[in-house]
């Protein structure tokens, strides 16, 4: 369930209709989970692609033009901020959603998944997730993206749960603020720890997958970290700590 406005903690947003195999897996009471970062790890895109799609589907010609133009102009800034600090980047970036209605965002999310995320999925992502499930793991996506944008993807991949950022809505419209704490960096690790405590999972047996050194905390907190398509910094960390490195295609 989505956390409501003002809720203090990042309670994982469980999917509304988990697939049948997930329900079966729950019957077996897995004691471990596989936590997957999404952008760059399972899909080639990042939050900018997602936002760009929303910008293009603003609903009016002026809206489309305005948001597309401002997004285009901001791209270098996004890139700079993302490389410097993911938290600042997210906080700044999500302001661009301000004013969009909740039902509109949820509706577009389904189309956005089909048009943007699904084509960008690495072919081998599903294999990796299926293997995690076969090995007895709950499958949990952990992403700095907004939950409504990721829910169709999580459903498609057969994930059991989703830990994602939640947009604040007032009067049915997005305020552009994300309910704190923002899921990124160290907070991803905190969320995973809280999730394991809540679900009775053994953190040391859990797997973590990410592509970015900004997720070092998330990888370090689980017992079985893996770098996926890692950036240079993460590749060097993975080599230093002898973490497996996957190059998903």
């Amino acid at each position: 369930m989505l956390a409501g406005v003002g809720e203090p903690s990042p309670v994982p947003a469980s999917l509304t209709s988990p697939p049948l195999e997930c329900q079966e897996a729950r019957c077996h009471m897995p004691s471990k989970a596989a936590f997957f970062d999404v952008d760059g790890t399972l899909v080639k895109t990042n939050v900018v692609h997602v936002y760009a799609y929303y910008a293009m589907n603003r609903g009016s010609v002026s809206g489309i033009a305005g948001r597309t133009l401002s997004t285009a102009l901001s791209v270098p800034l996004f890139g700079l901020m993302d490389s410097l600090d993911r938290k600042t980047f997210n906080e700044f970036f999500y302001r661009y959603y301000a004013g969009l209605t909740e039902d509109r965002l949820v509706t577009i999310a389904e189309d956005m998944f089909e048009d943007v995320l699904q084509p960008a999925l690495f072919e081998q992502s599903q294999d990796l997730i299926d293997q995690a499930r076969r090995s007895g793991c709950k499958v949990v996506l952990v992403t700095g993206a907004l939950d409504f944008t990721m829910r169709p993807l999580a459903r498609h991949l057969g994930a059991d749960d989703l830990i994602a950022n939640k947009m604040q809505f007032v009067g049915g419209k997005a305020t552009g603020k994300v309910i704190p704490p923002i899921i990124e960096g160290a907070n991803k690790a905190n969320s995973i720890r809280a999730y394991c405590a809540k679900e009775g999972l053994t953190l040391d047996k859990c797997h973590g997958y990410s592509d970015s050194a900004s997720d070092y905390a998330m990888l370090a907190v689980v017992g079985r970290p893996t770098a996926v398509n890692p950036d240079l910094r993460l590749r060097s960390i993975a080599r230093a700590y002898n973490w497996p490195i996957l190059d998903l295609k």
Binding site: A34, Q124, D127, L128, D130, Q131, A132, R134, S135, G136, C137, K205, H207, Y209, R224, T226, R239, N242, P244, I245, L246, D247, K249
Partner: protein, 536 residues
């Protein structure tokens, strides 16, 4: 005066056994990617490989004769029917070592078989590499193994690596009388005829192990790749003394009951080194001045270059093996002939065990072709393969000392051996007890999604493979009293493996004598090429 009996020992009837005397030359010994030149104590027994047997004069003619005159089955042409589904299962890159000069004997066999299949109207043909839980072969390696023509015709749709983790790619057959699971690659199981293309590098391979292991999966392999089975095996190279062989036999017989498998087994001689390095196969007593010069130059050059470069160079030198026999037909009669030829080439009879045995460890192993001989593989070469190169009685006495010559560097190939790294650095510091490792960690590694992915999609050994390497050394570990790695360049690798270390072979022999007594007998297995002992 020296008693006559002792004099007789110095001149053993087998010329492959030389007792070191005062004037004996120093020995040229493998030491990882380099060589050592060492004087051995007087009285040390040096066991040399047999010289290469003569190869068959015409390999393709021998193949044709074998498939037309198989043992226990109809000739191959009589088994081929138009429209049938045929699968050729092929031994992987782990044999022979080093990879042989092209054309590889597997290519020669396939050229004959595929031509015959085409002439018989058999179009549905797949080539499956029996890599079991070994790494997938790369495209380049696959092309080299079967030749460009076959590769271009079959790769990638009809020439591929076996995938033991494909959820839809494995078929379970009935269990053995001992409850062992029998799993086989689906394409193989659903074929009307299977032709197994084997290269028998050591007697452990071939026979029922080919199908029982090569195209199976973890669920089936765990019934014999475990510490209990290994401890119950006196030698992997002698079927009568191997619980591993017996388990594979039960599984293989079950497979033969359900599937029609036509084996083509081949044996190779001992011609491991080509012209520039053929002196390595000689006894040092027979070295010419030129040989000595070449050895010194090679030893010096390899010692001065970076290890990776030395490894690269050594890996590019193929072995000019000759084919000494081709045997075809049903599993057991064909393999019986293979074993006879194999033993004829490799076995050297020796009188009695020794208190101290020295094994030089070369740069290559079945699991490190085009890769790094990491510490677990050094362990498996010493305590697994070399220790078991006998016909049921080990060369070293129970409680004796093994001396291994290797730098024992802490290097791993993250592409080929990712799970080895975790095994070595996370598990071995906790315990070296195989039973505990199996019970506590084997399943976790076997099912680790990252390792499964790397096995299926990249070129990594399966997550469980380092356990098998550790188990492989189990009967050696249980048998010897001490292992010393001479020339180890660090302390922590030998310590993690439970071994002692010394800087030099001389120091290692001194330490071993301190352990076994001053009158301890010493043997050196002057490997490579391959040599097996038959201890009387």
């Amino acid at each position: 005066m020296r008693p006559f009996k002792t004099l007789q020992k110095l001149y053993d009837e087998e010329s492959q056994v030389v007792i070191t005397e005062k004037g004996s030359p120093p020995r040229a010994l493998f030491y990882g990617e380099g060589f050592l030149q060492e004087d051995l104590p007087v009285g040390t027994r040096v066991i040399f490989p047999r010289p290469p047997m003569a190869g068959v004069p015409n390999v393709k003619a021998a193949i044709r004769w074998a498939i037309n005159n198989p043992d226990g089955m109809d000739p191959l042409h009589a088994l081929l029917k138009p429209g049938m589904r045929l699968t050729c299962v092929i031994d992987d890159i782990s044999v022979p070592l080093p990879p042989m000069v092209t054309p590889d004997v597997r290519q020669s066999i396939l050229e004959v078989v595929l031509e015959l299949a085409a002439d018989s109207g058999v179009d549905d043909v797949h080539l499956v590499i029996a890599n079991a839980l070994h790494r997938r072969m790369t495209e380049g390696e696959m092309k080299r193994m079967v030749g460009e023509k076959i590769y271009d015709a079959f790769y990638p749709d009809r020439y591929y690596n076996h995938d033991a983790e494909d959820p839809d790619g494995i078929v379970a057959l009935e269990r053995t009388s001992h409850g062992e699971e029998v799993s086989v690659n689906r394409r193989v199981a659903e074929s009307d005829l299977i032709i197994y293309v084997n290269v028998n590098f050591v007697p452990m391979n071939g026979g029922h192990k080919s199908m029982g292991t090569g195209v199976s999966n973890y669920a089936s392999l765990r019934h014999h790749h475990n510490p209990k089975t290994i401890r119950a095996s006196e030698s992997y190279m002698e079927p009568k003394a191997s619980a591993l062989y017996r388990s594979n036999e039960r599984i293989g017989r079950n497979i033969d009951k359900h599937l029609k498998v036509f084996h083509i087994e081949t044996t190779l001689n001992n011609r491991m080194f080509g012209a520039p390095t053929d002196f390595l196969a000689k006894r040092e007593e027979d070295y010419t001045e030129g040989d000595r010069l070449k050895f010194q130059a090679m030893r010096y050059a390899l010692s001065k270059m970076p290890r990776a470069a030395a490894r690269k160079i050594l890996n590019t030198i193929p072995a000019p093996y000759d084919v000494t026999g081709v045997y075809a037909g049903a599993t057991e009669p064909a393999h019986a002939k293979t074993l006879e030829t194999s033993w004829k080439q490799y076995v050297v009879p020796v009188e009695g065990q020794s208190d101290i045995v020295i094994f030089p460890i070369p740069f290559v192993s079945p699991y490190s072709v085009n890769s790094i001989l990491n510490p677990l593989l050094v362990q498996v070469m010493g305590l697994g393969y070399f220790f078991n190169l006998n016909r049921g009685v080990p060369l070293v006495k129970k409680g004796g000392v093994l001396i291994l010559l290797h730098p024992a560097y802490d290097e791993f190939d993250p592409e080929h051996h990712p799970s080895y790294i975790e095994f070595f650095h996370r598990l071995l510091p906790e315990t070296r007890d195989s039973m505990k490792l199996e019970h506590k960690y084997e399943k976790e590694f076997a099912e680790n999604p990252s390792y499964v992915h790397l096995y299926r999609k990249n070129n990594a050994y399966h997550g469980v493979h380092p356990f098998y390497m550790w188990y492989w050394g189990e009967n050696g570990r249980q048998h010897v009293g001490k292992v010393i790695v001479a020339g180890a360049e660090n302390n922590h690798v030998p310590a993690l493996l439970g071994w002692d270390r010394t800087d030099t072979l001389t120091e290692a022999i001194e330490e071993a004598r301190g352990f076994m007594g001053r009158s301890a007998t010493i043997s050196l297995l002057r490997i490579a090429p391959t040599v097996m002992v038959d201890v009387k």
